[in-house]
């Protein structure tokens, strides 16, 4: 499996603050990867580094095997990028916006762009400034998809959209994945819906990767244990304890299991993705830091 996006010891510093630090990850081709984390976790930084909008302070980042800063024309034609708040020239009509895409991209697929605009029920004469937020996001996505990219990078694409517009936007992305098998990386601080949309997950917090992997493996690999109050010592020797909480009588552990976890002392529960993500975001975690995270090899 080749990597669509790969970083090595990637870091970006603003002043004395590391927006991204010691980041090692590989995103497999054809995957739909969610980049989750709170605001300021480094999601936007990672995506902007990928497309060369900013330069790394340390390490390297490659998209399809090329560095976007050094060789922009080896990367940009193959990458669709929708920035946060999907900026578009407001004075342009939709037809002019499509012309913009045609002028600036050698691989432009005009038929695809026109078809999407028609499917969205938009008129070519409408000005971008008069469209709703959801429609603007769709136009920005059209611009990105009609490049016929191999990789689609979306920075908080649905954060400002209402639930219906969110669903329609994601549906557009998934159709492109179905038809062209493109790799998608989308950042989000909304965890709901990600499980059905994405197959891989990267959890970022305070500029560091906390967890990287296929969602299926992540779900299968985590369990919630509840039992009488005790120290997690025995469990922690075998499994990684991501979060522990205690009441007077009871102890609850969220563990990353290494093998079978059944133990008559503990009640065993499956956990959903949202709970796992929240546990990692609250986790001061040495896990991902002691051993570099890598995408599951299958």
């Amino acid at each position: 499996m080749t990597a669509a996006l790969e970083t090595r010891a990637l870091g970006k510093r603003y002043g004395s603050n590391w927006a991204l630090h010691e980041c090692d990850l590989a995103i497999p081709e054809g995957s739909v990867t969610a980049l989750v984390g709170p605001n300021g976790a480094g999601k936007t930084t990672l995506l902007q580094l990928a497309v060369g909008l900013i330069a790394p302070t340390t390490g390297t980042i490659e998209v399809l095997g090329h560095d976007a800063r050094a060789e922009p024309l080896h990367v940009l034609p193959h990458v669709g990028f929708v920035a946060q708040d999907h900026p578009l020239p407001r004075r342009f009509t939709i037809a002019e916006t499509l012309k913009l895409g045609r002028e600036l991209n050698p691989t432009w697929d005009d038929a695809l762009a026109e078809r999407r605009i028609a499917e969205l029920g938009l008129s070519r004469r409408q000005r971008v400034g008069t469209l709703s937020g959801g429609q603007q996001a769709q136009v920005a996505l059209t611009l990105a998809l009609a490049k016929r990219p191999k990789v689609l990078l979306l920075d908080e694409p649905v954060a400002s959209l209402d639930p219906l517009a969110r669903r329609e936007f994601l549906s557009g992305v998934l159709q492109a994945v179905t038809e062209s098998g493109i790799t998608v990386v989308l950042s989000s601080h909304i965890i709901a819906d990600l499980e059905r949309i994405c197959d891989h997950l990267i959890i970022l917090s305070r500029g560091r990767t906390q967890l990287v992997g296929a969602i299926e493996d992540i779900l299968a690999g985590h369990r919630l244990l509840t039992g009488p109050r005790t120290s997690p010592g025995g469990v922690a020797r075998v499994h990684d304890v991501i979060r522990e909480s205690h009441t007077e009588r009871q102890t609850t552990l969220l563990v990353r299991a290494n093998g079978h976890v059944y133990d008559a002392d503990w009640q065993l529960h499956e956990v959903d993705l949202e709970e796992i993500v929240l546990a990692y975001l609250g986790h001061d975690g040495g896990v991902a830091e002691t051993e570099p995270a890598a995408v599951a090899a299958r």
């Binding site: 060369g52 990028f81 900026p87 004075r91 895409g101 002028e103 600036l104 920005a140 490049k147």
Partner: protein, 320 residues
Amino acid sequence: MIWVGWRQQRLETAIAAGVLLALAAVAIPAGVHMASVYAHEHLASCVGNAESSACGLATGSFQTRFVGVNLLFTWSTLLPAVAALLLAAPFVLDLDSGTYRLFWTQSITRRRWLAVKLGFGVIALAAVTGGLTVLAMWARAPLDHSGGRMGSSAYDAEGIVPLAYGLFVFGIAVALGALWRRIVPALLLAFVAYVIGRAFMDSWLRERLLAPVKSTWQLAGQHGPNLDRALVIDQFLSDKSGTRIATAFRPCGSTSSGFLTHTNAVCAQPLARGAHAYMTAIYQPASRFWELQGIEFAIVAGIGALLVLLAAWWTQRRVA
């Protein structure tokens, strides 16, 4: 990118061109009328004819009669600055609104985007300021012929200086825009910088760009140099060596600009005490028009060009 650059800038270019056309719509009929009056009254033959006070009066009254045209061109010297602000706006707006992230992630290099955006701005600016220069030099011809073109309403609207100020303001606006990425404060501050810069140049630096000429002549009997068309920096009663005579005396007919013209000097003559009174003038002769313009252009346009390059460099390297 060519089409995109033009599409993003055409409104601003149209507004700047519209202002120029509005100016032309007033200036062309006025210029035609003025030229016919000038020819009809044979004023051309008066120029440099210091002997005839009738000529002096006729020239003076011609200048007074068309003071409105003069005023129009005084205001027109704002056009390069206004056009520069308008044409810098599309560049700064892309940075302000975040649309630069859209352009820089299409299949073009940042360098190309910069070249087109800034290049188109400069080209349109050169066209508008060039238009102003041509219009001013044509319409003002009679005024310039009789009164010279060293005064602000001519000097700042003719030759290559309008383009220089255009570039100056454009440079400030795009540099501030690149650093700040806020369109309104960037353009406002650029305009303030323009007003300060031009006031400094008009009132102080321009007369010092070249060492001025100093000329002393005897009031009784001698005629001094013809200062009608010159940029007179100072003129005063003096002794033979040109040293100022401290006196409460003020010559009659002092013009509002504070400069004595040749005609005023004639008027002052009877008041002067005897044949030992001398007059000294410090001035830039009219013949230095292009030389002064060249130096001023080099300074002002040079600053503007450096600022444009700074904006480009900063955007290329630092902006994300």
